[in-house]
Amino acid sequence: MVECATMEEDEIIRRAKEGDLDSFNQLAETYQRAVYNLCLRMLGNAPAAEDATQDAFISAFRGINRLRGGNFKAWLFRIAANACRDQLRSLRRRPVTSMDDAPFEFKSDQPSPEDYAMRQELGEEIKKAFVTLPPDQRLAVILRDIEGLDYEEIAQVTGSSLGTVKSRINRGRKRLRHHLEKHRELFV
């Protein structure tokens, strides 16, 4: 089934490479949620994430002929990560005053008011903790722990070696853990 889906995707990619916008838009519809979430976690700002996502898809369409086989999602994430870097530079020039529009929400099967309040608080803490991470570590942790990519895919997205990926994930998680330790009661 997975192989069938991959074959179908390969065909769509082939048509997109020939300039078929509808085929490319099929890919965009499939991956826009993942790309938008990656951008949102990286930037912590919804409008900037929207811009980065749009830029990523435009760049992907323009550069799809440079894709030579391989993992389309990893390739797309790489473009999105570059779009996020551009947005981060832009945000540094014109810093936003609020990050309230980029919530971290949690999956939960206990929708009680107490649970909701705790999840909100935890979301705030994670958001603050992510901001303290250098962008390279933030990207590696998001790709691994939120997007669920394996180490090889992360190496493809970031253009780094496996050793660098391991080190970034390790340091990023450690920093997050230190930040969240103050709020142990929320998540342990």
Binding site: E29, Q32, E105, I126, R144, K166, N170, L180, F187
Partner: protein, 205 residues
């Protein structure tokens, strides 16, 4: 002994993250596990790290606020279309030429100022100039005295008896300096204005 143990803890804690992800070899895994059996600090570190990772796994995906499918208007931004239609900033008229003109004016101004400061444009003593021309100082040349000629050329005011200090300018240096400064300011202002317009154009894409 304590230093050795601390060193071991440091090494093991560096492996905890790939250990959680099962990204270490079997020998390293055995080393980590045997250390964890006897080290409470590292066990606690592992527990907190696992809790952090589990927490991140529970972060819910957010629905995008809109579709990011490309419209036809976006499709025009494909490379072939971009080659046909030059970017906004390239259509700003003669920005490159203005930059060069500003730079040349600035260089000229620096040259004139430097020359002025080092007395490059000052005429030598009148006797020497006259000797060079092979004409006595008081001689009339086509109805004009050398003194008048120099005054006329230099634009400096000297008394009718001749130069008070036997020196003057061979060019109207002050006027040239002022003119170059004015031209440079105007060109520079226009260039900076157009450059800002170009940047705004690029940011808007």
């Amino acid at each position: 002994m304590r230093i050795l143990r601390k060193n071991q803890c440091h090494k093991v804690q560096g492996l905890l993250s790939p250990y959680i992800d099962e990204q270490i070899g079997s020998s390293e895994r055995d080393r980590v596990e045997s250390h964890l059996e006897e080290c409470q600090v590292c066990r606690r570190e592992l527990e907190l790290l696992r809790a952090t990772v589990n927490l991140l796994h529970r972060v819910a995906a957010v629905s995008p606020p809109r579709s990011f499918a490309l419209a036809e208007v976006d499709a025009k931004r494909r490379p072939a279309a971009l080659k046909r239609e030059a970017p906004q900033w390239r259509r700003v008229p003669a920005l490159g030429a203005l930059r060069v003109a500003t730079a040349v004016t600035a260089l000229l101004l620096v040259f004139v100022l430097a020359g002025d400061a080092t007395h490059l444009f000052e005429a030598g003593p009148v006797e020497n100039r006259a000797a060079l021309q092979g004409t006595p100082v008081a001689d009339e040349v086509q109805g004009t005295s050398v003194t008048d000629e120099i005054v006329g050329v230099g634009g400096a005011s000297f008394d009718s008896e001749g130069f008070t200090d036997n020196e003057g300018y061979i060019w109207p240096v002050l006027e040239i300096e002022l003119a170059l400064t004015g031209v440079m300011l105007i060109l520079g202002g226009v260039t900076v204005g157009l450059w800002h317009r170009k940047r705004r154009g690029l940011e808007k894409g």
